[in-house]
């Protein structure tokens, strides 16, 4: 018997009588004041949040708030004349020195502040983790109340990698003192486009 067969056999022998899956369709968030709720939650988890009208607004906020002499990358085509476009062919290590990454989320979740990103919008999987500062654009009308609506929206999802990201990286491992900027970005900013 291979290990696989042995484990499967033991599982079959030892598992209890069938127990039904519960219906989870009852869980629904309230579809109200989502932009406001999102902004409040995101700020409490250590993020920055701006309401903007268009891409031009984002561009000027980026240049005002970050060191524009450093390397700033993006997957957003409309920002490509100002910032470097991320190549999905490059070696991920080559993004080691990026200061800011600007990417567009599929949507965000009001209840927990997280944005949903797949590798397609990240450009490369490493981008939202390796940058010093992460900037994410969210379309206001795509914000969902809770994770239940989020997974409904994602559906099967044809991605190789996807992630909810809810704030700058953090740790409290040393005496429970909160420190923003553990291994990932030091800050995270969300631009909500009206």
């Amino acid at each position: 018997m291979t290990t696989r067969e042995k484990i499967l056999q033991a599982t079959l022998n030892n598992q209890p009588a069938a127990s039904a899956l519960p219906d989870i369709s009852v869980f629904k968030g309230e579809d109200k004041d989502l932009v406001q709720k999102y902004m409040t939650v995101f700020k409490t988890i250590g993020g920055n949040c701006f309401l903007v009208d268009d891409v031009a607004g984002i561009q000027s906020l980026i240049t005002q708030n970050y060191d524009a002499t450093r390397r700033i990358v993006t997957t957003v085509a409309e920002l490509s004349d100002k910032f470097e476009l991320i190549s999905n062919e490059a070696d991920p290590h080559s993004y080691e020195n990026i200061e800011v990454a600007i990417i567009k989320a599929h949507f965000s979740v009001a209840e927990n502040g997280a944005v949903w990103l797949t590798e397609e919008v990240m450009g490369q999987r490493i981008i939202p983790y390796i940058c010093q500062h992460l900037a994410v654009i969210v379309q206001a009308d795509t914000i969902v109340p809770t994770l239940h609506e989020a997974y409904e929206k994602i559906g099967a999802g044809e991605y190789g990698f996807g992630a909810f990201i809810g704030g700058p990286s953090k740790t409290a491992d040393i005496e429970q003192a909160l420190v923003l900027g553990a291994h990932g970005p030091l800050t995270m900013t969300v631009f909500i486009m009206k």
């Binding site: 290990t3 696989r4 484990i7 499967l8 033991a10 599982t11 079959l12 022998n13 030892n14 598992q15 209890p16 009588a17 069938a18 127990s19 899956l21 519960p22 989870i24 009852v26 869980f27 988890i45 991920p92 080691e96 927990n112 997280a114 490369q124 999987r125 490493i126 983790y129 390796i130 809770t146 994770l147 989020a150 997974y151 409904e152 994602i154 099967a156 999802g157 190789g160 990698f161 996807g162 992630a163 909810f164 990201i165 809810g166 704030g167 990286s169 953090k170 740790t171 409290a172 491992d173 040393i174 005496e175 429970q176 003192a177 420190v179 900027g181 553990a182 291994h183 990932g184 970005p185």
Partner: protein, 460 residues
């Protein structure tokens, strides 16, 4: 870091409580997290319904694990992930070693994984010339101090910042006396960034594995799992069989519960869904049994396999808070550790089910509603039946009876008296506890326990 057991939990705990200042701090820090959990839970009106649903989903997983494993395996394979099966810790370690060896990798970076701690993977690989670095800050600190983690979510919660500063001074060359958490974190960030950038092999744990799609989810706050994985040529994920969930939409339930139960956060910063390898990358997943199917076959204890490792039961446990995770001498400490460990080695861990007041606080906070305290009680019976009962335990009960029977002894008991004041309300208010029938406890410590006890014993 292999944990040999020369003393039992009580003896280890005695050593820990000698440092009163540290115990008070430890106790307070964990209770603070418990309070944050309560606040987060209160904000979700359907919290209890979520817990009930999570528990039902996990019951379903346990009852249908065989088919879910097959489905998960088929989907992983379809996604281009290589699947391995390991019956034991040794087999798991051999698999990891063979994957790395085939690629001539001799340095690996690892994110938090209690399973690989349980398997003593680091030691195994190091003996074979492969260096492993733990990248979660708390685990990194524990590694350089050559200690196992003392808490599944907060690995070095028992350490003070000055001690960590001393370790950094010794291992990372920081200035002597530096103990500021932000500065220490920055130093570790810089050091570990270089590790991430130079390691070709990365291993992560798994929080949830979706049978329906073959993807697995890894949750971190630091971003270390992703830094390692996305810069690696070979990515390995190790998971216990019980981490399966049926469908992707069930993640909505579990992710709403996990971080709130763990630290009071609305969600962990990163909830990464790994499905397919990156172009040019190899992805492996190891399904590990190591006693899990045996636990599945124990009707009284199989529920322990529902655990999502939030650490909530530890933060609330009066015994854990006062004795520290290392006193359990098992990778998973606290109440959940005390019901998992006897399955692995009943004789060695016979002391752990006694490291509890059976107050039930653990079961009350558990997001998947494991009846932890009832299982602790059942393990005690099992252990006595098998003849492994530690003699000190019967003595322990007698001491408690003796202390409670005499108010003078109690009021002069100093530390012990304070310990009771802080903990006793739970002790009594529980069917399983022999004290329950005769005595009931006041709400808050408006009067000292000794005063209360005197008054009440007189009445009776």
């Amino acid at each position: 870091m292999s944990q040999t057991k020369t003393k039992d939990h009580a003896a280890m705990a005695r050593a820990f409580i000698k440092d009163e200042e540290r115990v008070d701090w430890h106790d307070g820090a964990l209770w603070y997290i418990r309070e944050k959990r309560d606040l987060a839970a209160k904000q979700i009106p359907e919290w209890e319904q979520l817990r009930e649903t999570a528990s039902m989903i996990k019951n379903n997983v346990i009852s249908n694990l065989h088919d879910y494993l097959l489905q998960f395996e088929a989907n992983l394979t379809k996604n281009g992930v290589v699947v391995h099966w390991a019956d034991s810790a040794e087999e798991h370690n051999e698999i990891v070693y063979s994957i790395l060896k085939a690629k001539e990798i001799n340095q690996m970076v690892k994110s938090k994984s209690m399973l690989t701690e349980e398997c003593h993977l680091n030691e195994y690989l190091e003996e074979r010339g492969i260096e492993v670095i733990n990248s979660d800050l708390g685990e990194y600190i524990q590694q350089i101090d050559q200690e196992p983690p003392s808490h599944i979510v907060l690995p070095c919660i028992h350490k003070r910042k000055e001690e960590i500063g001393e370790l950094f001074h010794e291992h990372l060359g920081t200035e002597k006396g530096l103990s500021d958490p932000t500065l220490l974190t920055r130093v570790a960030r810089k050091h570990l960034r270089n590790i991430f950038l130079t390691r070709r092999g990365a291993l992560t744990g798994v929080n949830f594995a979706v049978a329906e799609t073959g993807e697995y989810v890894v949750c971190t706050n630091e971003g270390n799992a992703d830094m390692g994985a996305h810069l690696s040529e070979v990515q390995i994920a190790s998971m216990g069989l019980e981490k399966i969930i049926p469908q992707k939409k069930h993640l909505g339930i579990f992710l709403r519960l996990l971080a709130r139960s763990a630290t009071g956060q609305p969600i962990t910063i990163y909830s990464s869904h790994y499905k397919k390898p990156r172009k040019g990358q190899e992805m492996h997943l190891i399904l590990v049994d190591a006693g899990r199917t045996r636990q599945l076959g124990r009707p009284d204890f199989r529920d322990s396999l529902k655990c999502i490792k939030c650490g909530g039961c530890m933060n609330t446990c009066p015994v854990y808070r006062k004795s520290g995770g290392l006193s359990y001498q098992n990778t998973i400490s606290g109440p959940i550790g005390a019901i998992l460990a006897p399955n692995l080695d009943m004789k060695k861990h016979a002391d752990l089910p006694y490291a509890s007041t059976l107050c039930g606080s653990c079961s009350n906070v558990c997001p998947v509603k494991i009846n932890i305290h009832e299982q602790l009680y059942k393990w005690r019976q099992e252990i006595v039946k098998e003849g492994y009962a530690p003699t000190t335990k019967t003595l322990g009960m007698k001491t408690m009876a003796w202390t409670l029977s005499s108010p003078e002894k109690l009021s002069t008991a100093g530390k012990a008296g304070r310990w009771f004041l802080h903990n006793v309300p739970f002790v009594v208010n529980n069917k399983l506890n022999p004290w329950y029938r005769q005595r009931d406890m006041p709400e808050g410590p408006k009067e000292s326990f000794a005063e209360w006890f005197t008054k009440n014993s007189v009445k009776k």
